[in-house]
């Protein structure tokens, strides 16, 4: 049985359909990528899974239980954690206190009786590689670091399912490599990881499986190799070849090998 099942989820805002009958499943121990052009509905999917957005129709099942209308904090207690595309770090607390709050919340009333061990805060910061920023205020650190901080904070709850929304933007190349290794490690420990990401190198090297969203529809699912070869994916990203916005000047190699290029919609 899959850890998480998203079942025909539809989300409509007014007249706009942000997610349209999305359907996919996540298994423990695997890294899954969710990619697609901007505005395809990726973040809305995350919000539905974590309970920040009620779907117009459809269901979300977690460990076999229908959690579609469960409050976000209850989902977190069951082992779900996420990071945000538009950062939600606690800006006026220090980096260390950000993680400490997450641990406090995780341990809840039990934690009130015993002190949160400083060692677990520090080891989380070290694990994501931002220990040197521990004493800084979270609104003064660079974007990439703040994203890693959100990851550390998410890990404080010992999640079974980790949802990462564009985790690598703001990281340089070597930091991204380290981050990829960390993701593999986290999955190897038995977690299911779902990642929205625009860095195709990272997605193609780290993910076991990829789902491609376009206009709220899942237009393709498969291994990185399958996605790379998929014609519809290339069209979704680059537009159809005969389109006026993208005259035939589009380099043929780009179309055939999106992996080596930056996706134009991103930067």
């Amino acid at each position: 049985m899959a850890l998480l099942e998203v079942d025909d989820v539809v989300v409509q805002f007014g007249g706009v359909t942000a997610v349209n009958e999305a359907r996919f499943a996540l298994d423990a121990g695997r890294v899954t990528g969710l990619i697609g052009p901007n505005g395809a509905g990726k973040t809305t999917c995350f919000n539905v899974i974590t309970g920040l957005q009620k779907p117009t129709s459809g269901h979300v099942r977690y460990e076999g239980k229908d959690i579609t209308s469960m409050q976000p904090h209850r989902r977190a207690k069951r082992g779900m954690a996420r990071t945000f595309q538009r950062l939600e770090a606690f800006g006026s607390l220090t980096v260390r206190d950000n993680v400490r709050v997450a641990l406090d919340i995780h341990y809840g009333l039990r934690g009130l009786l015993q002190r949160t061990p400083t060692s677990s805060v520090d080891s989380l910061l070290e694990r994501v590689g931002i220990a040197e920023y521990a004493a800084e205020r979270a609104d003064s650190i660079p974007t990439g670091t703040a994203r890693l901080l959100e990851l550390a904070r998410a890990l404080a709850g010992e999640p079974k399912l980790l949802l990462l929304d564009e985790p690598s933007s703001g990281l340089d190349e070597s930091e991204t490599d380290d981050f990829g290794d960390l993701l593999r490690e986290l999955a190897a420990e038995g977690r299911a990881v779902l990642m929205v990401e625009h860095d195709m190198d990272l997605v193609m090297t780290v993910c076991d499986e990829i789902h491609v969203l376009d206009f709220g529809h899942i237009i393709a699912s498969g291994t990185p190799a399958e996605i790379r070869a998929n014609r519809r994916v290339q069209e979704a990203y680059l537009g159809q070849a005969d389109e006026e916005d993208h005259p035939s000047a589009v380099d043929e190699t780009t179309v055939l090998d999106p992996v080596t290029t930056e996706i134009p919609a991103v930067r």
Binding site: F13, G14, V16, P37, N38, G39, G51, L52, Q53, K54, P72, H73, R75, A76, M80, A81, F84, R86, L87, E88, A89, F90, G91, S92, T94, D97, N98, R100, V101, D104, I105, H106, G111, L112, T116, R137, D139, S140, I141, P142, T143, A146, E150, R153, A156, G157, G170, D214, F215, E235, A236, Y237, G239, Q240, E243, D245, H246, P264, A265, V266
Partner: protein, 676 residues
């Protein structure tokens, strides 16, 4: 039967006027996400302008009406949108509430300053003329009001559904960022909404003035009726808002007709809209956590324990010296300042740390005072019980709106304040109508503190103890969670925090602190009445707290002294009575975006002195090995104020601003590309 009919006609008339006001409120809220607490105050000021035109300057009524509705009101609306409320919709709810409460108080002050209290009246349109249907007499004024509300409904429908700018308005209701993506101009939409909204407030004010009189407060507080109606439409739906307004108008009219006009229930008639508002708020569906709140709220520095103890002791010593030299009336004022400072401490917890707004903090102080007087056990246990009762009441107010957030919590405190004001405090079992109650002074270990100076000193010790306790709370686990909830509720929720009970506890604790202050105040005055805790006084309290710095206990201390001086100034310079409100109100409008207020300037000054002077002093001192710095001058743990930058370039909060722009253009490009 005929009386039922005529009360129904009256109800439809008031309902129609409420509907006009409420639709303006909905229009501005839904297009700019700013809940305009001052909506009624705009209506009040415009009614005064109309009086000025039509009665003082003898401009014909119809021309005056046209001038106000089509020229003055829209211009004021545009001005306010352009210079006061622009960008406020993206700010935390607490900030936009404080700014519009500032407008509210400032406009009342302005009206009092321009049109000092005097007997004024505005006649009905058509001079009371009317016609009879059977035994029911309907004035043309009433008919006009009903007709105009129908016109407003039809006009808004056509505007929103049949015009381009109206479509843009509806789009910005659902998703302002999406509107930007598709090339809409939120600026134009917002300006238009505020111009029309202010005009509608003016129309409602002018139509109601002949009935309820030209009064600063009555007209302003009419807005609660508009809130209630607008809430039924969840601040979005205009048809539901109209339905709510009509229901409310008729209910109120029947209440006047059929509820007893004397006894403890006589207050019921005045609180129908408030009860309606409460009921609607309680029935609101679960609010969803909003992602993408504004970050980087700057917090006041958190001093070290030793330092806060030293400063606290210094304050106590200072007050002790002061009370020795004060006259007995001045001692009373000092005690009042201490009370206000303690109530402001409760706002530091609620608003400064927690990010929530209470519009009725004095009411909780009143509950504490009432409990103190009723319990009649003037010792520490009685004091504790009084605070506990106020705290429980505060928790009860937050309880029904457990599922809701910011705005609705604030509005329910307002509704609660009106209820207590009109229904409870003036009832015979409480202070009584225009009555007062005796209250004993606190006795410690069996010794009653009869000397005023000593009592004030004890109040000061309570203030310092509360302040030190608050700082200790802020340093600990609960304080961290409070700040985290303020900075990002969405992150707290997805980390597994059940914020509902936290919110209730926060309100309870804050109300308890205010209640303690109220109980001590009752002991100070030895006789208390309902007028000591009027709802309206809570608004200047909130504003002064924000202006002086609601994120620090220092700000609360300064604010307490300020608020105490306000009535003193007003009685010394009665001609400037309105001006004080203007200064506070518009001061809060100007400074409301930075809740650290004046206290922060003080801290910055202190640091500057320390950085410049202290090294100079130590340089000249003979070299003593490892001389410890005095605790008073040590920097706080979070000494840095403001966003300080990292060497790696702009911080993510800066980038967020840029990112939204970039994403906007990208998304358009992305969609264009893939649409084919």
């Amino acid at each position: 039967m005929s009386s039922l009919l005529s009360f129904t006609v009256l109800g439809i008339f008031t309902g129609a006027a409420y509907a006009i006001a409420a639709s303006g409120l909905v229009l501005t809220y839904s297009t700019t996400r700013i809940f305009n607490v001052a909506h009624g105050a705009f209506g009040m000021v415009m009614a005064f302008v109309y009086w000025d035109f039509s009665q003082r300057q003898h401009i014909p009524a119809w021309i005056s009406l046209g001038l106000v509705l089509l020229v003055v009101a829209p211009l004021v609306g545009l001005f306010v949108q352009r210079f006061v409320t622009r960008g406020l919709g993206d700010a935390p709810v607490s900030v936009s509430l404080v700014v519009t409460v500032g407008l509210f108080v400032g406009l009342i002050g302005l009206a009092q300053q321009i049109w000092p209290p005097a007997a004024r009246s505005v006649p009905q349109f058509f001079n009371q003329a009317g016609f009879a249907i059977g035994s029911v007499f309907v004035t043309y004024h009433q008919l006009l009001t009903i007709f105009l509300s129908a016109m407003v409904a039809a006009g808004l429908f056509l505007l929103l559904n049949r015009t381009r700018v109206g479509t843009a308005m509806r789009a910005s209701v659902d998703n302002p960022e999406l509107l930007k993506l598709y090339g809409g101009q939120p600026g134009v939409v917002a300006a238009l909404a505020w111009a029309i909204g202010t005009s509608l407030a003016a129309l409602a004010g002018i139509l109601l003035t002949p009935v309820i009189g030209l009064d600063y407060y009555d007209l302003t507080l009419l807005v609660i009726n508009a809130y209630a109606a607008a809430m039924l439409g969840r601040l979005k739906s205009l048809p539901l808002t109209f339905a709510g307004a009509m229901t409310l108008g008729i209910l109120q009219s029947y209440a006047v007709a059929y509820l007893p006009s004397s006894g403890d229930l006589s207050g019921m008639r005045a609180v129908i809209p408030t009860l309606f508002l409460f009921a609607v708020i309680i029935l609101m569906p679960q609010a969803q956590l909003r992602v993408g709140q504004v970050k980087g709220i700057v917090s006041a520095p958190l001093p070290q324990v030793r330092r806060s103890l030293v400063v606290g002791a210094a304050v106590v010593v200072l007050v002790a010296l002061l009370t020795l030299s004060l006259s007995s009336s001045d001692v009373l004022l000092a005690g009042t300042a201490a009370t206000y400072a303690m109530v402001m401490l409760s706002l530091v917890l609620l608003t400064g740390y927690g990010g929530h707004v209470s519009l009725a903090q004095f009411t909780f102080a009143g509950v504490g005072a009432l409990a103190w007087a009723k319990l009649d056990s003037p010792n520490l246990l009685g004091l504790f019980l009084a605070a506990l009762i106020a705290g429980a009441v505060g928790a009860l107010v937050a309880l029904p709106v457990l599922r809701l957030t910011g705005l609705y919590l604030a509005l329910s405190t307002l509704a609660f304040g009106v209820l207590m004001d009109k229904l409870v405090f003036q009832a015979s079992f409480a202070f009584g109508f225009n009555g007062s109650m005796p209250a004993e002074r606190l006795s410690l270990l069996g010794i009653t503190v009869s000397d005023g100076g000593t009592y004030v000193l004890i109040m000061t010790i309570f203030f310092v103890a509360m302040a030190v306790g608050l700082l200790q709370l802020r340093r600990g686990r609960l304080g961290r969670i409070l700040i985290a909830m303020r900075d990002s509720p969405a992150a707290c929720g997805t980390l597994g925090l059940n914020m509902r009970w936290f919110r209730v506890a926060l309100f309870g604790l804050s109300a308890g602190m205010a209640g303690l202050a109220g109980a001590l105040f009752a002991g100070l005055r030895q006789t208390i009445s309902a007028t000591d805790f009027q709802l309206f006084a809570s608004l200047p309290l909130l504003l002064i707290a924000v202006v002086c710095g609601v994120t620090s206990v220092t700000g609360a201390g300064i604010g307490g002294v300020f608020l105490m001086m306000l009535p003193v100034l007003q009685s010394n310079y009665p001609r400037l009575a309105g001006l004080a409100f203007v200064v506070i109100g518009f001061g809060a409008v100007a400074l409301g975006r930075d809740p650290n207020g004046l206290a922060n300037l003080l801290f910055a000054l202190g640091r500057k002195l320390q950085d410049r002077l202290w090294p100079a002093v130590t340089d000249r001192m003979p070299a003593l090995p490892s001389l410890p710095l005095p605790g008073l001058l040590n920097r706080g743990e979070e000494g840095q104020i403001g966003k300080h930058r990292h060497d790696d370039g702009p911080t993510w909060t800066d980038r967020l601003m840029d990112e939204t722009q970039v994403v906007a253009t990208e998304e358009v490009a992305g969609h264009g590309a893939s649409r084919g």
